[in-house]
Symmetry: C2
Subunit: 424 residues, 2 copies
Amino acid sequence: MSTTNTGFLEDFAAMSGFGATPGGGVDRQAGTPADHATRKWFGDWLARHGFAESLDEAGNQFGTLDLVPGAPYVLLGSHLDSQPLAGRFDGAYGVLAAAHAAARVAAEARAGELEPVCNLAVVNWFNEEGSRFTPSMMGSSVFTGKLPLRDALATTDPAGVTVAQALAAGHRRPDASAPVLADVARYAEIHIEQGRSLEEGGTQVGIVDRTWAASKYRVTVDGAQSHTGSTRMEDRRDALYGAALVISAARDLAAEFEPGLLHTSVSEMHVLPNSPVTIARQVVMNLDLRSPDEDVLARAMDLLGKWIGAAEERSRTDIALELTHRWGLVAYQPEGVALGRASAERLGFRHTEIMTVAGHDSTNLKDVVPTVMLFVPSVDGISHNEAEYTRDDDALRGVELLTEVARRLVRGDLAGLEPERPGR
Amino acid sequence: MSTTNTGFLEDFAAMSGFGATPGGGVDRQAGTPADHATRKWFGDWLARHGFAESLDEAGNQFGTLDLVPGAPYVLLGSHLDSQPLAGRFDGAYGVLAAAHAAARVAAEARAGELEPVCNLAVVNWFNEEGSRFTPSMMGSSVFTGKLPLRDALATTDPAGVTVAQALAAGHRRPDASAPVLADVARYAEIHIEQGRSLEEGGTQVGIVDRTWAASKYRVTVDGAQSHTGSTRMEDRRDALYGAALVISAARDLAAEFEPGLLHTSVSEMHVLPNSPVTIARQVVMNLDLRSPDEDVLARAMDLLGKWIGAAEERSRTDIALELTHRWGLVAYQPEGVALGRASAERLGFRHTEIMTVAGHDSTNLKDVVPTVMLFVPSVDGISHNEAEYTRDDDALRGVELLTEVARRLVRGDLAGLEPERPGR
């Protein structure tokens, strides 16, 4: 049941064949055939390595290893779903690293090399990416009580398929035995950085101490249909022009602050009627603002509000913003950061504390369970792109680090920190 | 077989029920069930009024009335297809006006009230709008030899359905007896203005003397996918930001010229991957420039080329323009304009010569056949919008005018003008 470094790279190559794209990436959006094929492969891997596989109602896929009857779990995991035309590392690296780390620690415990106080479980969170079904981090949001299960299951993709329908096409039905939040004592996750700080700093691993704050909006621009040719320019109420002004304003907004203080983007857009001869009556798009400083987000939104007023006037449209998802600048538990740092030091890895700009399933978990979040470097910081890459030695160092963290969590090194549960 | 004004309004109301929308408009894009239902209704109308119905391979629907065995046709028509969520008048008004005018003139000829030298035919051109299948004016482009039939039939809509497949769902198959270009001696069309010049001038009818020049482009913006959150602003190659800069530049371009000298628009956009968490790698959109002065179009494109260079630099994207459709500033035959004017004068209608900004099927026909193009007022110039409206008295005056034009054409008043055929 023990695994080796060589085994990890071989497994990772095999897993990367599911949804593989010609450009060297993967395309396996949540609940698609490629995602289900990867989940099936992972379920088989778990079974081959002695894990009991189970699925919860939200589509989260677990593998459990019982070491101490009745004890809570140390849960390790990430997500196997991807963006369209994405890289092979985002999420998938962390799930496989979790599985290898858990298998090794369980083998050590069973060999009497460590004294476990917890059981071990790994998880593949459903739909972390949110590209097909919004919002992102869906499975871990349901698991942590932040999103009602029925809302998640009723969410539709652009073709009208619900999450419930997409999940029903998978390789197994939900199990009553799947872990629930109350069963989890500790959580750990490892992920590629998706930025270039570690690489630029010559650092081998990152211990995440905080997450950037993020505010996500739905922007609706309402204009009026008219003929693209014959309508006088001054008579137009062009929703696509209004949208273009918002996109430019969002970009200009980032330039109003010190570099690195504000990231803004618009990346998804739906135009009605989207005809070559009719001016758009409506555009619906997303707007994503992130900052390591919540005050910057507030100041940015004040400023953007004024600019949007000007865009409305200029384009003769009505522009409405609706907050759809946000998370604050919440620190990871300092004790967990200290445990991650001690683990890296024991292994002799060059390490640093680091903030995460991207959201992760651990963003949800850390709010309710003591959590350790780890990063490995991304070459050139490229992510959500087929060219996303993490070097083999970095990937293997990450597995070693997550294994050491899991060892310490399983033997109770984070004792005294009680999980915070919603409503308690 | 004669028709009355009351009959026209009743027929128009009945026809407007096909594809009717809650906002008082119609939605019957080319080859959809709503378009086919309207075509079937029109075919039945033709049969009830003594026309022989026929269809050509490009989906153009004809009704012929033989008065002079072997003589060529005076062809009257427009189109029944619409933009999505469009008005009831655009195209459909002209087809029904043509049918009523032809029926009346034929009845007069058969009653010995005029001496015909031509036969009469009406036409519903397939896919004038071009919203579902690009380019616009498809049926009349094939009929006049400007677009190969096989290219038209192979054109796909966004769902991958071809024109050939969409036409096969219609109420009848093509007929070998359908008129071809060589059978047509004269063409006349009446349409709503889709602008507000007639209304502002207190004029009742317009005789179109020229068409604005138009240049249409496909714009492709190539960037690179990356994470909307974690990618540093300076590392981004955001195709949607590049597209927004082009949309703004196109609008600013119009402001560089005297009001009314240049109309610009972008109205259709396809974003890849169109995900909320991934910066767009590619945007493909249209760009439509129109002017009553071909030199203005040339100067505008020079200027836009420079601005696009700046947009590429600012957004770190590559932006390519490809010309997809153009028509020049071609005059309608002065003899046809004179005949239209004389007809309006005989009826005592306040009239003016006017340019058309929008393209029409007559834009194609006038290049190869002596053509008379007529306008009736549009309230507030609203078009491609459910609120598009032409008052009953204006609509009826238009039918009267088209009838008078048809009378004169059928009795040979435009003698001496020979049709110009491509390749002759």
